[in-house]
């Protein structure tokens, strides 16, 4: 399931498993799924919710209950409690803070509800039946490796990093991965700013960053949604001496990469379909079906999605599955 971000993608890439997929898609027992995620205060999070809803809408046997997005763990906990009270069959939970939601998720599991943990991990393996994760650390590593390749031999290269919301563990994981990969080829991050995953904050952070560093060789921007703002700021500054690597993999950025007329050279995918995958897995679990492509008769405990680097060479492969932010 490494690249199977949406069903369309599956159709084009996973032809071999068609039979199994069809079997799994056959309507079964009615499944009621609760979904809760942080506030959609940035594009990727908006895309997550949208993809989740779209996925659920494809199955006549799935009823999805979506709670208001929130960054208040207290409210999110109560949403899960409400799902428990509602006696849903499964909960797909993208917690604002994994550790903070662990207790209530465990409670849900104990109440016999299948919990699918998405994106931000609980700190206790009993709290979820299955976990769908992006690879934040891997994203950093991929981006760093790509930068290393591009800057081969340039020992004093200036590398800048525009992070996302700095207080999130996922941002820290991405930065750590990036740092590690750079260290492998003897480079380091010289300037680091943090934005908030929004276009506006990206523009702001980039504008300040460009002043702080008069000469840059490469920029890694954690998030393509804030990247729109980053690119606007770069365009405004008129600077061209560096290249940019994106993150998350929005359709906009991939089109830019394909066109090849901007500084955006590559992006690292962080699938926005984790919630959608969660819904699928939840349905399979409740209906007691297995993952089609695996021999294993149970759905795995953990699915970690891959974070590939998209460049002009392979962009066509990923463009159809990219999210419109």
């Amino acid at each position: 399931a490494c690249t199977s971000n949406t069903p369309e993608a599956e159709k084009s890439t996973d032809t071999g498993s068609k039979a199994a997929a069809v079997a799994n898609d056959a309507p079964g027992k009615k499944v009621k799924i609760g979904f809760s995620a942080p506030a959609a205060d940035h594009g990727w999070m908006g895309a997550i919710t949208k993809a989740t809803k779209a996925e659920a809408a494809k199955y006549p046997d799935v009823e999805l209950v979506v709670a208001e997005g929130t960054n208040d763990v207290n409210l999110q906990i109560s949403q899960v409690e409400t799902f428990i009270n509602q006696k849903v069959d499964a909960i797909v939970l993208l917690p604002f803070d994994g550790a903070a939601l662990t207790a209530v998720a465990t409670k849900a599991m104990q109440a016999g509800i299948t919990v699918i943990n998405v994106d931000r991990e609980f700190d206790n393996s009993f709290a979820a039946r299955t976990t769908v994760l992006g690879d934040n650390h891997g994203m950093g590593v991929s981006a760093g490796t790509y930068v290393c390749e591009q800057l081969k031999g340039k020992k004093d290269a200036v590398i800048a990093e525009i992070a996302g919301i700095d207080s999130l563990p996922l941002t820290q994981a991405r930065s750590t991965g990036f740092k590690e990969a750079l260290a492998d080829c003897g480079l380091k991050v010289s300037n680091r700013v943090a934005a908030e995953f929004t276009v506006e904050s990206g523009e702001k952070a980039a504008a300040n960053l460009l002043q702080a560093a008069p000469k840059i060789d490469a920029i890694w921007n954690h998030d393509d949604d804030q990247g729109v703002g980053v690119m606007a700021a770069i365009k405004n500054s008129g600077r061209k001496e560096f290249f940019v690597v994106g993150g998350a993999g929005s359709a906009n950025v991939m089109r830019d990469i394909k066109a090849g007329n901007t500084l955006m050279r590559a992006t690292v995918i962080y699938p926005s379909t984790q919630g959608a995958d969660g819904v699928r897995l939840a349905r399979l679990l409740v209906q007691k079906k297995a993952l089609g492509d695996l021999v294993e008769v149970e759905v795995p405990r953990q699915v970690q999605l891959y974070a590939p680097v998209v460049t002009k060479d392979n962009v066509d492969q990923y463009l159809p599955t990219a999210f419109e932010s």
């Binding site: 959609a40 919710t49 999805l64 209950v65 979506v66 709670a67 208001e68 997005g69 960054n71 208040d72 763990v73 207290n74 409210l75 906990i77 109560s78 949403q79 409690e81 409400t82 799902f83 428990i84 009270n85 509602q86 006696k87 604002f96 803070d97 994994g98 550790a99 903070a100 939601l101 662990t102 207790a103 700190d123 700095d166 207080s167 999130l168 563990p169 820290q172």
Partner: protein
């Protein structure tokens, strides 16, 4: 027994066209206490709390009831079940305690933007390894006291800045918001700190006589707040300081010291809320309590406390908190699109306030 302060005359003339907005808003909070009410004051505190509270907050109560009816109509048993009611109350508890503290500060003529940050800092401080070690060795009381102390200390700084530094409350507490959250991030290294002291989680996460400990705590804080505001010299002075600081000063009230006390009280409430949130999430984190300042101020103001000070009602605040939390619950049950929820929320706030005003005006 006037729980809350009585109203200026302006409200009494619905026919007055150019009435200034602020004045009118006051209608929410209270109804001029007719001399007659003194007759049945023998009925006692609890009785008068209920009567007075419901009477003066009729519109809000109706808004809440309507919300509940909608909840039952759309959610049926799922809404009306005991478990769901407890869910609502548990959700309300944390922000409720914060709002009680906020009620005091606002009634006293101030405002506190730092509540969320104080909750975060207190939760982080109380869940550091060192504190948890203490908690594990000598009982969770150490974690609780740490949280309360940190909250009160932040409140003290707020109070000193406002009362003696003479910085407008908005700015002083905005600075505290930035400072406390930054400090929380530094202490926790931006990691979520998991609580390993099980007795702590067991106690505060548990129930007493079928009601969650958190809900008991909320009830206790609310009751204590009500008594403090309406039945003590401290409360009376709070109204005076918020209503006319200069007059209070000339009347011999220690306005500065009182102001400090109000902010300490709000900080203390944040410390309590931090303990509750720690129990609920089994973590301490610098991201706890985000936007609590807005939520708390909204609950306080919708409850009828005057943002400019001098008038405050604990009962109104509690109803205000319940309205917002019930709204969230009903939304979650009903699977409304998230954006639509946002729009609906805006509309419902406006309708609730208009209702409350019209009813309060009629009641006079």
């Amino acid at each position: 027994m006037s729980e809350e302060v009585a109203r200026p005359p302006v409200t009494d003339q619905p026919d007055q066209p150019d009435q200034p907005a602020d004045r009118t808003a006051s209608t929410q909070a209270t109804v001029t206490q007719a001399p007659g009410t003194t007759v049945n004051r023998g009925a006692g505190m609890a009785g008068s709390l209920l009567r007075g509270g419901v009477g003066r907050n009729l519109g809000l109560v109706i808004a809440l009831v309507v919300l509940c009816i909608v909840g039952v109509a759309t959610g049926g048993d799922r809404f009306a079940s005991g478990a769901n009611v407890l869910t609502i109350l548990r959700l309300a508890a944390v922000i409720g305690v914060v709002s009680i503290g906020m009620t005091f500060v606002i009634t006293g003529g101030g405002i506190d933007l730092s509540v969320g940050a104080m909750v975060a800092l207190a939760s982080v401080w109380a869940t550091t390894l060192a504190t948890q070690q203490l908690g594990a060795d000598y009982g969770w009381i150490f974690m609780v006291s740490t949280a309360l102390l940190v909250g009160a200390a932040c409140g003290l700084v707020n109070g000193l800045l406002v009362a003696y530094g003479k910085i407008v409350p908005f700015i002083a507490t905005l600075a505290m918001l930035a400072g406390a959250r930054g400090l929380a991030e530094i202490i926790s290294d931006r990691k979520t700190q998991i609580i390993t002291v099980n007795p702590f989680v067991d106690f505060f996460g548990g129930s007493l006589i079928g009601v969650p400990v958190l809900v008991w705590m909320f009830l206790l804080v609310a009751a204590a707040g009500w008594v403090l505001l309406n039945r003590t010299t401290f409360g009376r002075r709070t109204f005076a300081v918020g209503g006319n600081a200069e007059a209070a000063r000339l009347a011999g009230i220690k306005v500065q010291r009182h102001t400090v006390a109000l902010y300490v009280l709000a900080g203390l409430c944040c410390g309590i809320a931090a303990v509750m949130l720690m129990a609920r999430t089994t973590t301490g984190s610098a991201t706890h309590g985000q936007l609590y300042e807005l939520d708390a101020i909204a609950a306080v103001v919708i409850g009828g406390t005057l943002l400019s000070g001098g008038r405050g009602t604990i009962v109104g605040t509690v109803i205000g908190v319940l309205i917002f939390t019930t709204l969230n619950n009903v939304f979650t049950l009903n699977n409304l699109s998230i954006s639509a929820q946002s729009v609906a929320k805006g509309l419902i706030i406006v309708i609730a306030v208009l209702l409350q005003q019209r009813l309060a005006a009629r009641a006079t």
